[in-house]
Symmetry: C2
Subunit: 389 residues, 2 copies
């Protein structure tokens, strides 16, 4: 259903000849037909952030976005002033097509870093996409296909609120790290909400979803999450329900990224409980999620708790106070580490399901946090040794 | 030449039936025959540090070590009080054999975490090793073989000072992270030096070597570096020369670990110059060394500078101030990134040599730092998906 599930939005996904994959849809356009044009955004903190991120961060700052143009096939990152001019020209072209202010057009790009885009293809593609705009289900799906790179499937969400809707799409598969991910995400709603309300909902939702997944520890230059509101439902939502639904949309899309992690054969949920604070729990969960050795073990269906506790042990005591002799670890419900030592035999753990649950109890407090990651497989190495991105 | 290169040391390496590999040498003994028994040590900061680390840290605290017993085939980590008793009993047995104080015997273990050692095999092996003790070159080599796990070759060093010698051996291949590595290292010298002098030399040498290599970002529970002095040369060394030689020994052994990194096909030197401080340079070098995406690209002979700068961009500005538009990156001498953007074409870079040199100039100051890492290959995943450690 994607971005056209919410009323007041039209979209398109076309093949513009940007991607090196012949005939692949590589350019998406999402237009907010109003009556509102409220918007919020969250962007990568990477200091080498791409030109479209620099452009879009400014564009969304006033809380108004009319249209978003997104391309795969090139990141337009580390391309200097020339790259920035490309993003600006792209926004100007879209603004002219849809009749918007240039500063109300966001631009997103994903693909190889360090090269300029084939701008003539982008601008011609924008025109094709404009002509293909539709509020149909198919149009939303086309857009979600057009932003894919190493993704093996489109990732979308559609949620019903009380009298209003939230839809969305995301791309992302590798270069997925705690601070967002190599991901472009557009979430739409027909609720009647203010930009400030949306920014708060999006920041909170992102923190608990996209900021808590980690495929490979690598932070991208292009991460962008946009939330657009058309107000077309005419419904002012209950704020708590709206916040919860935005968070749910983010969580669903983030979970789909993990489910499609490059080369992954397992999706791994790491929950740390019994921490003295949420930050402490999160630091521990992130340390475990970052362990290449553990991720390889999981790829080999080995519930190697030694690699779990040795990762836990790298978190400084001032960040996460706990007694290593009181830590327990359950993998898929089997307590294989008890009081910091061996528990039940690892052979009791069934590692065949796609989802692996690692539950760590620090027994030091009441706080908890959850992080999702993938295992590390031959296929991940293959994709990233041979794919230029 | 290993640990017996310095006068006053005897060693042995025997097969004690600890390792699951039938007939593999898995137990080493190094004895300091004096006249001095001065010693210094550096250990893993991991909070789940192994029983032998807990034991040896106490043993070396007074600056005296007469003998070191080391085993592969089991880490004796996360084994609680029973594990600690195993290390203590092992030390007592060795002390009885060599006629030393139990508190002057260090114990080192490496292998699978979470299981007790087959103690009868360890103690019987200690007796065999004691009977095999010799100051021959072969005995030193036997010891360096006995500590290997996934290492494909023994790693030793032999350096001549002015009238004295330094020898050493190390094991380590995976679970190699910035704060030491999964490594056991024994360095010997026949110089006449004090324990305090040795500790300072070892701490400095370790900081610039073992703490600046990173195979897979994983910190071990068992890392131990010991420096033993027999004084058998009768020579009091020039302190600067001694410090430099200890540092050189550490650097040589650390470099050999990188050269034997699990599954590695390239050894990667990352040097960051033009930083505002050494800490800033080090943070940047470590961030680049930790990038799985870059390490996969190097495995595929792709000098992917986008993955270099996107890793640099994750270092917070308060840690390493620099202007992303002024950064240059050379790979094997070719400036492929200039002023934060594309430089010469990546096709000009010859990636076929085993050694890859990445030189990053932040153009922000005069400080620099170097970190070594390996690439990330199919073979690394294979080793760590299938090997229990």
């Amino acid at each position: 259903m994607s971005v056209t599930f919410a009323k007041g939005f039209s979209a398109a996904g076309v093949s513009a000849g940007i991607s090196s994959v012949e005939g692949k849809k590589d350019l998406a356009l999402v237009v907010n037909n109003g009556p509102l044009d409220a918007a919020a955004g969250v962007f990568t903190p990477n200091r080498f952030c791409a030109a479209p991120v620099q452009w879009s961060r400014k564009a969304v700052a006033d809380g108004h976005i009319t249209a978003v143009i997104l391309n795969s096939g090139g990141a337009n990152a580390c391309t200097g002033q020339a790259g920035y001019e490309q993003s600006k020209t792209t926004a100007e072209t879209v603004a002219g097509l849809v009749g918007a202010d240039t500063n109300n057009v966001a631009v997103c790009s994903t693909g190889l870093i360090g090269e300029l885009l084939p701008l003539d293809h982008v601008l011609a593609g924008a025109k094709s996409a404009y002509e293909a705009l539709s509020d149909s289900e198919q149009a939303g799906e086309d857009a979600s296909h057009a932003i894919m790179t190493t993704d093996t499937k489109p990732k979308t969400v559609a949620l019903e609120g009380t009298g209003y809707r939230i839809g969305g799409m995301v791309k992302g598969s590798g270069m997925i790290a705690p601070q967002l991910a190599t991901m472009l995400c557009v979430i739409t709603t027909d609720a009647v909400v203010t930009a400030g309300q949306m920014q708060a909902a999006l920041a909170a939702g992102t923190e608990m979803s996209f900021n808590r997944i980690d495929v490979d520890g690598c932070m991208s230059t292009n991460d962008t999450v946009l939330l657009l509101a058309s107000g077309a439902s005419g419904v002012e939502p209950d704020p708590d329900e709206f916040n919860a639904l935005v968070a749910k949309a983010c969580a669903s899309l983030a979970r789909q990224i993990i489910g499609d992690g490059e080369g992954a054969s397992h999706d791994v949920r790491i929950t740390v409980t019994g921490a003295t604070s949420e930050d402490a729990a999160l630091a521990c969960a992130r340390a475990v999620a970052a362990s290449n050795l553990l991720k390889c073990a999981i790829a080999g269906n080995d519930p190697n708790w030694g690699r779990i506790v040795s990762s836990l042990g790298t978190v400084p005591v001032d960040v996460a106070p706990y007694d290593s002799n009181k830590v327990t670890v359950d993998v898929n419900g089997v307590r294989i580490c008890e009081n910091g030592g061996a528990g039940r035999d690892r052979s009791e753990v069934d590692m065949t399901p796609r989802e692996v649950h690692i539950d760590i109890d620090l027994n030091a407090g009441d706080a908890q946090a959850t992080v999702w990651t993938d295992d590390l497989t031959h296929e991940y190495v293959h994709i990233n040794a041979d794919y230029e991105s």
